[in-house]
Amino acid sequence: MGSKEICRNELRIAVRQLSDRCLYSASKWAAEQLVGIELDPVKFTPSNTRFQRGSSSIRRRFRTNEIMSTPIAGVSYVSTPVMEEDDIVDGDFYLLAKSYFDCREYRRAAHVLRDQSGKKAVFLQCYALYLAGENRKDEENIELEGPLGKSDAVNKELVSLERELSMLRKNGSIDPFGLYLYGLVLKEKGSEHLARNLLVESVNSYPWNWSAWSELQSLCTTIDILHSLPLNNHWMKDFFLAGAYQELRMHNESLAKYEYLQGTFSFSNYIQAQIAKAQYSLREFEQVEVIFEELLRNDPYRVEDMDMYSNVLYAKECFSALSYLAHRVFMTDKYRPESCCIIGNYYSLKGQHEKSVMYFRRALKLNKNCLSAWTLMGHEYVEMKNTPAAVDAYRRAVDINPCDYRAWYGLGQAYEMMGMPFYALHYFRKSVFLQPSDSRLWIAMAQCYETEQLHMLEESIKCYRRAANCNDREAIALHKLAKLHCELGRLEEAAFYYKKDLERMEAEERDGPNMVEALLFLATHGKDQKRFEEAEVYCTRLLDYTGPEKETAKSLLRGMRMAQSGFPSMSAEHFPP
């Protein structure tokens, strides 16, 4: 596939250019994608495919869409530009500055480059200053914590950087990297619109800088903004769109994009992780687990996104796998929020909630805006019956990201626990608004309405109906619907839902008290409606069960036979078995 070769060449050059400018995370990303492109097995020795072992048949099994055979995103119109090189003496300074930079001595690096005029040097100088300012800001945040939690530290370099960059831009002597930095500065200053324009400009002229894309992605808060961006066609745009869709909770669209990208980058860990993320949001835990297992096989020291894997393991109650994962990340890098979350999850699964809270707190200390840590800590507090603390934690999560339906749900749950179903409804409403396709949320809301304090059965029925419509995994909704209708005396509706529930249980080969209840109701109902054959079928099925229902079924059968054989209205009660 020619396009693969093109991508590979572009990325190869881009990695060099990016790391030359000390844009390390972008170059890391590019390099990952570079290696992720499927190699032609004929041409390369096994050592080259080291990373690509286990091109898993398991994963193939789960792949739903066939990869489309269209060439990737049209023809990329930008070929990797050869960046001008500064002349040799300046180049020496640049080398020194870059070494300083690599040793995290940002101000020193900026100082070395103070009089340089080459684009590369200017960019590195500005970037170093920016990072120095960021470092200082973080330190000040800790130093300045005021009596009311005030921390108004700002990056002090922003003003001068903005001045310089805007001047450069006016001169026209700004390169795409400078534009990226300019966008970053503006975003930090809060002028998002301008920042967006600059970032678009940057990625249009140099699309391989993933950092620019991801900044742009964080600025796309609504679908309208996303669609209004004047982006040129390039295969990088697909990565961007996939990520943006995910942020906007359009999981299926995002999944489709990633699967399409996988056609080229079939061994990209990044894409795999992102697919896992999307699947996780769609609650396809099995697939997520498979993907992560493979990811870990290929990349055993990976910490990113591993907290999601731990969530899956938690949900599936895989103690040993979770502990193994926790141990592994602990050995790799214990001071990462992800690691702390994983350990917290492990303790939570073990039922040691205090310890787990401790680790979540550590995660939050490492990153105050770690959304999942807040939410998970809320869950822990709920487990510990410390509802006020749980409410607080959830609330903080919600304030960081008001679209986090889990935290809203948690809030509702906490209030429901406190016996305030009416108050809880507000939160459930919020969460349902954000994620209307999740049956659990609808069920929670329905249960609120159903509580004896509120007892608003009509509303409850409405919610259960919604839940039943969106793939209710635990199959609570149908049963509840049937029961509620029965309670309200609407027998036809009740029969309808019992039948549906029965069908479902048959399809899923489940058994249990619900089944008995459904059969019993249907049998009685059939008899009352004089649909004897139907009732007989249900009765016979009931006979397979033990317990009082069996006897009832027997007597029902007897009664029906008698009614059918002409004895007028002699009910079974007269002939006790």
Binding site: L148, P388, Y423, Q453
Partner: protein, 917 residues
């Protein structure tokens, strides 16, 4: 409250304090002689001292002045030394370039203080006593500096650098045109300064300036009077409180407004001084919002709160203020959001910060309050169903957490809800799920439920010693007794009397009980001062000034000085208490109005308007003023009423959809009816009807009123059958919604309609029914008016009934003359005259005096009212009497007056009413 996390009142070293220290050093430099270097005289030196004193006192304020503001302020000390001072200050500040310089500076500061070796003090040496105000300030600064970590010192250094930078950059142009812009700058800074200390200071300096100007008239003697200046100044300073209170009200208002507007204030950032002050500020704002309602500026406060929140993310009360703000501005979504946010954050323990919640609340003791608030929110936005759900849940949760206080408040809220939302609406609302009070069966009527609830709530409040709640419950009870005609509660069996009664005695009793509150608070007032409000007394003073000047602007000028002296001493009674007591007066006024004693009603309204207006919410105040104006209209005629209305309208300009609007329409309608402009009357009537909410069962009073007026308009237009139909419909509606009082007046209206249509026989039963209603409901004035109507009806049946009519009139006359309005009195007079005239045994020459007397009075009264129809009738009768007496000249005069009124009635001028627009 829960928002407070850490130790309040931390004393940090700030650039401003450093410059104060430098100035202090200048003031008390240890090695100087009698008069230290830059000063030419004692007075100047003293003035610097006073200046510093003022600054140190204000150093705990929320906002610190910037350097150029400080310099501008200090410019007032004296002309010769100030430039040197400013230069010295700036050069000292800008010379601080390393942490070591700071260390040295503060070590030097120690030298300023008299140490242990202070024994050897020369006479003329200036020392700072370590225990003086300035000395303590200096010591605190030194201590705070010594406590700083190295990072802290670095931050101080950078802060000082930015503090200086602005002045250094702006200094050159500033000096270039010192004369012109200096003043402007000072003015600008004046408005940025918000605290009282500085304010006082500036006033003092203004004064100094004025004195100086006075002094400059004799330029050659400038040297001599300066010490005297100093002396005078001292005196002025000590007398400053009275000074500021009495004359500078207007200015204080503008300062307060900048605080509200806050655009200038927040620009250069807050220095968060202490939590207490912020909390106190928030409390103030809360009061202000509740008092001013929707007239409070939404965005300004919102902006301010946004800033505050950015600075103090852990101060959760900001969310509550946001909630209140959006509540009063009818922003449902944001109010709901903020309410939930506030309680999510502040409820129980403060998350995991490990800080225990402040005392007084147990861990989970606040969620029921959240429910209570959300119930009130729904109530406010007109969702009674949700409100009831929330409140029921609040009852349940507070029972669970045995929070009796909250329970009592919740019950009171439910009572309020029940009595407000109207009866038909509520039935079915309290469905099966509803049983906050266990012993309350659903078989009871809403009335009875309400009564039982009120009792319950009152009992609870009493046992919990919640005085305010007790008082407000008493008020609610009084209102209940006033408004609701009741069967004896819980009477069973066929023998139970089914007589409907109202109980004015109960009303009176409850009202008395509720005002007992104020005496309680006199005793224990010291306990009621909340911590936060204490530290913002200065803010309170500002607010008070604003409040008082608004209220006393138009009333008698003599009041004003009284008021300000009253307010200048700290008021020991909390605002909420006086609000409650005020409400009891308002309710008293209403009660008297209903029972028919106009003077007493007027008196109570007057008491309210004068004594409680500054703590009343604008709505309540509007009601009181409305009552007074109605009184004016009924007793002094429309001219006076409209004049008063105009001033009141200006006062409540922002409260658009309020009583004032209704009142205006009522007055206009009344006048239009009297003048005979039935078209206009109908138009106004329609406008009135539009004001009420379209939802059934809401705003019933207003709806009944509009419909009543509609019927009257039709009656005036002589469309009797239509009028009767409307009145019938109204009666049915009132009956349905249990508005018994309105029933009585509707019956009377029906009688009136029949009377006018010449169908007296039909009218009499209505009049009698109305009479008996009035009797059982103790509506004395209405009863008198019903009696009058009855008499008129009898009279129109023929002259044989004149005697009976006359007795009826005479029985009602004391009440009418004592309490009735102009119209009623005039009607009574005319009816009386008519009785005399139509009485067969009546002989003109003997009793004409009586007849003429009452007719003359009627004429006078009706002319004030411009009630052309009745006036014409009176003049007509007068003319007839004169004719019978043979006094032709007077007869002609009366006849021409008659003609004039008839003409006015017929020539319905379409003059545009200026008041209508």
């Amino acid at each position: 409250m829960a928002g407070i996390l850490k130790v309040p009142g931390a004393f940090d070293v700030t650039p401003h304090k450093v410059s104060l220290c430098i100035l202090l050093q200048v003031y008390a430099s240890p090695n100087q002689l009698f008069v230290p270097f830059p000063f030419s005289s004692f007075a100047q030196h003293n003035r610097l001292g006073l200046f510093l004193l003022a600054l140190t006192k204000s150093c705990d304020d929320i906002l610190e002045p910037k350097l150029h503001e400080l310099i501008n302020q200090s410019r007032e000390i004296g002309s010769s030394s100030i430039d040197w001072l400013a230069d010295h200050l700036i050069s000292r500040l800008s010379s601080l370039s390393s942490p070591d310089d700071l260390f040295n500076l503060f070590t030097e500061m120690r030298g300023v203080l008299a140490g242990q070796d202070a024994g050897i003090v020369e006479d003329d040496q200036i020392i700072l006593d370590p225990n003086s105000n300035l000395g303590i300030f200096l010591r605190r600064c030194i201590l705070a500096f010594n406590l700083l970590s190295f990072e802290g010192v670095c931050h101080l250094l950078t802060n000082i650098a930015s503090y200086c930078k602005e002045v250094l950059s702006s200094r050159a142009p500033h000096e270039a045109h010192l004369d012109g812009s200096g003043v402007n700058l000072m003015e600008a800074s004046e408005y940025e300064n918000m605290d009282l200390e500085n304010l006082v200071f500036e006033k003092v300096t203004e004064e100094i300036e004025a004195k100086k100007k006075a002094g400059e008239r004799i330029p050659f003697h400038l040297h001599v009077p300066t010490p005297i200046f100093g002396l005078v100044e001292d005196i002025e300073l000590s007398a400053k409180p009275t000074f500021k209170q009495s004359t500078k009200g207007k200015e204080a208002i503008s300062y307060a407004m900048t605080l509200d507007g806050s655009s200038g204030a927040v620009d250069h950032g807050f220095f968060l001084r202490s939590n207490w002050q912020i909390q106190g500020y928030l409390l103030e704002q809360t009061d202000a919002i509740e008092k001013h309602g929707s007239s409070f500026p939404l965005n300004a406060l919102e902006f301010m709160l946004g800033q505050l929140q950015k600075l103090a993310p852990e101060l959760h009360r900001v969310h509550f203020l946001r909630y209140l703000n959006s509540l009063y501005h009818d922003d449902y979504a944001s109010a709901l959001e903020n309410l939930h946010k506030y309680f999510d954050y502040s409820a129980g323990i403060e998350g995991f910060d490990g800080i225990p919640p402040s005392s007084g609340f147990n861990n989970s003791g606040r969620y029921e309050i959240a429910l209570l608030c959300s119930g009130m929110l729904h109530f406010h936005f007109g969702h009674p169903k949700q409100a009831v759900e929330a409140l029921t849940e609040a009852v349940r949760v507070s029972q669970q957490h045995s929070n009796d206080t909250c329970l009592a408040y919740t019950l009171a809220a439910i009572c309020n809800l029940l009595s407000e939302i109207g009866i038909s609406n509520a039935s079915g609302l309290l469905g099966s799920s509803y049983s906050p009070v266990a012993n309350m069966g659903t078989s009871l009527s809403i009335h009875q439920q309400l009564f039982v609830l009120l009792k319950e709530s009152l009992k609870r409040a009493e046992s919990l010693k919640l005085k305010r709640l007790v008082a407000s419950n008493h008020l609610a009870m009084a209102k209940f007794h006033l408004m609701h005609v009741q069967r004896p509660v819980l009477s069973f069996g066929p023998k139970a009397s089914m007589k409907l009664i109202t109980s004015p005695i109960n009303v009176c009793k409850e009202l008395r009980l509720s005002s007992n509150l104020i005496s309680d608070f006199d005793i224990e007032s010291s306990m009621m001062i909340t911590d936060g409000s204490l530290s913002t007394t200065w803010l309170k003073n500002l607010h008070r000034q604003r409040g008082s000047s608004v209220i006393f602007e138009e009333t008698e000028p003599g009041n004003r000085s009284n008021a300000s002296s009253f307010f200048s001493q700290p008021n020991s009674i909390p605002g909420s208490v006086s609000q409650l007591v005020g409400a009891s007066y308002l309710l008293r006024a209403t009660a008297w109005e209903m029972y028919g004693s106009a003077p007493l009603a007027r008196m109570n309204a007057l008491v309210y308007a004068t004594c409680f207006a500054d703590c009343a919410s604008s709505v309540d105040a509007a009601v009181a003023y409305g009552k007074l104006i109605q009184y004016l209209a009924a007793y002094k005629g429309y001219k006076a009423a409209f004049a008063a209305l105009k001033t009141v309208e200006e006062k409540f300009i922002s409260v658009s959809k309020s009583q004032i609007m209704v009142l205006k329409l009522q007055l206009l309608h009344e006048r239009a009816l009297h003048r005979g402009h039935s078209k206009l009357a109908q138009q106004i009537c329609d406008e009135l009807a539009v004001l009420s909410s379209p939802v059934t069962g809401v705003d019933m009073d207003l709806k009944a009123e509009a419909s009543f007026r509609h019927a009257r308009t039709l009656l005036a237009a002589k469309q009797f059958s239509e009028a009767a139909a409307v009145a019938h419909a109204l009666f049915c509606m009132c009956y349905k919604f249990n508005l018994r009082v309105q029933d009585a007046s509707t019956l009377l209206l029906l009688a009136e309609i029949h009377k006018k249509s010449g169908n007296a026989v039909l009218g009499i039963p209505y009049a009698l029914a109305s009479l008996s209603f009035c009797e059982s409901f103790n509506l004395d004035l209405l009863k008198a008016s019903a009696t009058l109507t009855l008499a008129e009806l009898w009279l129109s049946l023929g002259s044989i009934h004149a005697k009976r009519a006359l007795t009826l009139i005479h029985s009602a006359l004391p009440m009418i003359l004592g309490h009735g309005g102009l119209e009623l009195r005039a009607r009574a007079h005319i009816a009386e005259a008519k009785c005399h005239l139509s009485d067969a045994s009546f002989s003109v020459p003997e009793t004409s005096g009586v007849v003429l007397d009452s007719l003359r009075q009627a004429c006078d009264e009706l002319q004030i009212l411009e009630y052309h129809e009745l006036a014409a009738e009176a003049f007509y009768l007068m003319a007839i009497t004169f004719d019978k007496m043979g006094q032709l000249e007077e007869r002609e005069q009366a006849a021409s007056s008659f003609q004039k009124h008839i003409m006015a009635l017929e020539k319905v001028t379409d003059e545009e009413d200026p008041l209508l627009k």
